[in-house]
Symmetry: C2
Subunit: 468 residues, 2 copies
């Protein structure tokens, strides 16, 4: 057995080491099965000091370390390469909530905590931890932090970066940086935690965090609104913010084609209106006050918009079940699109004001270059984040369509760049977009990133081949 593996076994014990390829297969592949790696071993440390000792051992032998949480990432950041030389450090055994401080509205948690468990722990303490995303039943907070995860509550509560006050990080040297501060104000030098949030494990291993908690919403209003075009969505967003302010928790746009796919592939899905409209917005308001005041705010906003002909129709959910059914329409789009056939996904953001023009010009350009493609455009418009997905023309086989992937990506991402947007709004770079980003980021910015990487990790052992 390899010396390093033996040394690691001495650190973590047999329960913390998986060194047989049969057993470590699930840790060597990403969730979408796009990447299959071959690690030297998968380590599952039980404490920060074990993580530190493992990283130190890897540093001394210049061995690549691949940090991994729930392994639900979409860009391959947590998958080792195929060299058989890298060590996957899976944090899942570090899943303790170290403490909840209700007066400070914070909780201190370990990296391996599953997001849904943290939501529940907060709720049991009478608080809201607002981060919420599709993978919440299995993704872990260390991964959420490392990818600066977005999700459905960004409009009101921000990205994961906005939800963290302090971090504990094992550095590429194996040293432990204790930045677990629970302070809302601290201006004593560079805010180092910002470096590790969103770095996808390339600068160190996040082992614990102090997270912000919020008051629990006690009432909610959910509506689907019918619109002529995306411009109408911007107008409605503006009205909703002006009147509802921070009550506005969700604002999701989807086209009628998205709805048609959901209705086609989910037999129990029901259209929100008797007739069909070109576009829809799913909006949600919530309030810490109980009662129906928030429903009144929604009625005011939508009533005035209808009267001013700014929207075509609106349906406010009359029950929790109906609210869930509305959300289900939105949440089923990705899966419906998968049933429909091959597609190419883009997770982009642009300034909110540019969304209508972006959709119009990108649609036109794509249809010119790739006649028959079908745009499945939806997303968190309140955050400027579109999932601009492109389905194959009807009847085109996956192996044929996939040949156009690079060209389609080029059209979409070049368009994003013209609008000063981002080609990865919430999913990160990982392996998937590591080369693509070189086309869109300035050489100066890439150089700054490389300098930061080099000074913190001069031997390049932290998650090699990711991001940079």
């Amino acid at each position: 057995m390899n010396d390093l593996v033996e040394r690691i076994r001495n650190i973590v014990g047999p329960a913390g080491l998986i060194s047989s390829p049969q057993e470590f297969a699930p840790y060597a592949t990403d969730w979408r099965k796009r990447y299959r790696g071959a690690p030297l071993a998968v380590v599952r440390p039980a404490s920060t000091s074990e993580v530190a000792a493992v990283v130190r051992a890897c540093a001394e032998s210049r061995t690549g370390v691949v940090p991994q949480g729930g392994n639900t990432g979409l860009c391959g950041a947590a998958t080792p390469d195929e060299s058989g030389s890298q060590i996957v450090v899976n944090l899942s055994r570090m899943s303790r909530v170290r403490g909840i401080d209700t007066h400070n509205n914070t909780m201190t948690v370990e990296a391996g905590c599953v997001l849904a468990n943290l939501q529940k722990a907060a709720e049991e303490a009478g608080r809201l931890f607002p981060l919420s995303l599709a993978a919440e039943g299995s993704c872990e907070i260390g991964g959420n932090l490392s990818t600066n995860a977005g999700g459905t509550a960004v409009l009101r509560y921000g990205n994961t970066r906005d939800l963290v006050l302090g971090l504990e990080v094992v550095l590429p040297t194996g040293e432990i940086w204790d930045g677990l501060r629970g302070l809302r104000k601290d201006n004593t030098g560079y805010d180092l935690k910002q470096l590790f949030v969103g770095a996808e494990g390339t600068l160190g291993v996040i082992t614990a965090a102090v997270l912000k908690l919020f008051p629990m919403p006690k009432s909610r209003a959910t509506a689907v609104v019918a619109l002529e075009n995306p411009e109408g969505a911007l107008g409605l967003l503006e009205r909703s913010l002006e009147e509802g302010g921070e009550r506005l928790t969700g604002f999701e746009l989807f086209s009628d084609f998205c709805l048609s796919l959901v209705l086609k592939h989910f037999k129990d899905a029901a259209a929100p209106f008797a007739r069909r409209f070109p576009h829809y917005v799913l909006m949600e308001l919530s309030d810490t006050r109980s009662g129906d005041a928030v429903a009144g705010v929604a009625e005011n906003i939508l009533g005035a918009a209808l009267e001013g002909k700014a929207i075509l129709d609106a349906a406010i959910a009359q029950s929790d079940a109906q609210a869930k059914a509305f959300w289900k329409l939105r949440d089923s789009i990705s899966e419906a699109q998968a049933h429909e056939g091959p597609n190419i996904k883009h997770d982009v953001s642009i300034p909110i004001s540019q969304i209508p023009e972006f959709i119009r010009t990108t649609d036109a350009e794509l249809l010119r270059a790739h006649p028959g493609v079908r745009m499945v455009t939806f997303g968190h418009v309140g955050d400027g984040n579109l999932h601009y997905n492109v389905s194959a023309p009807e009847g085109v086989a996956p192996d044929v369509f996939v040949r156009h992937a690079a060209a389609i990506n080029r059209v979409v991402h070049d368009s994003v760049a013209r609008f000063r947007g981002s080609i990865s709004a919430e999913h990160g770079l990982g392996q998937l977009k590591r080369e693509e980003i070189v086309r869109y980021k300035s050489p100066l910015e890439l150089d700054l990133m490389r300098k930061i990487k080099h000074v913190l990790d001069p031997d390049g052992i932290m998650n090699p081949g990711k991001v940079l």
Copy 2:
């Protein structure tokens, strides 16, 4: 004339250069007149490319560059040293609002914009730019960004860091980093802007920023609440957040001794209640909805608290004039303390839950070591930020009291450290706390900061002698 000064004159023209000591005196001293420097020259560039050319010239001659905005900082970060060799780069002439995008809720502004002018520009566009602090009539946004300024709206809107989406920065090489993105989601690598926010000009010169705008509040409720002790303030904060959520815009604690100083030194100040109480909280709720609903929320919160004997008394302002009078009490504390005699200020933060215990133990320790000192304790309790100021015992002369300053700082800051707090919550380090911080930050964290500094500014030309 010095070659460098001549070269700079060629870049910025005579209107952009101040090289006579008589004229540059106001730029060579800080606002509190604690530091008096002697620069080689003061440069007032009119554009980003001029800033870049000036910094390049300084880089080539390894000359120190001291960025300066409105020069209202409290820690001497914008004051040059006395060597006569440094160049002050004052950004005040770069005061253009480059654009406001109401649909994106952003504005793009130059570093030299005075904060109050930005508040006004936002208001004219029907939006709120929430950053607000005492110096807003003369401080500039570049300085606010470089010090990550706090102020009175942090509880709801966050620190300056939370208000910025993109930056334009002149690097220590003289290169311009264009990070002026107006995106709420962008996960394409390290979030470089975070490095420059709060770096007090030691990593580069911020020349422009994209700032977030918010819906305008249209109603407001302001109250003064009487409390037995700081524990009562925590209980009231919890109730207010649970019921009022993000309506809670202000939550300021002050002791009866603070009030007594204000009443003593400001003849037109009126006590909020007929009798006196040990502690007070000034709280403010605001809402994007007009009308008196927000006053109802305040009445609910305070009514329930009175009924449960969680508070001793409460007065909700019945007019704008009364609300202003309540705020005036809070805002006059610093000045009243100055009238009262010599004092030593501390701008600290600790976890909110620890505030009562921090006040109790620090008071006791100080009184043991320095009998007769009078604590003037007030601050943004909703952010965990206390201005824990210490007034001299009655009758003690300034020159006598000042000899105890270092010992008093030691007691207070050691106590802060025991509570895992920060010795500079919102004012930064500058020159003032540059040595003090070495005692409280871990060697590892200081080492990380030095590495970041060195890799971005290997010759150490950016604001030498500040922060690190």
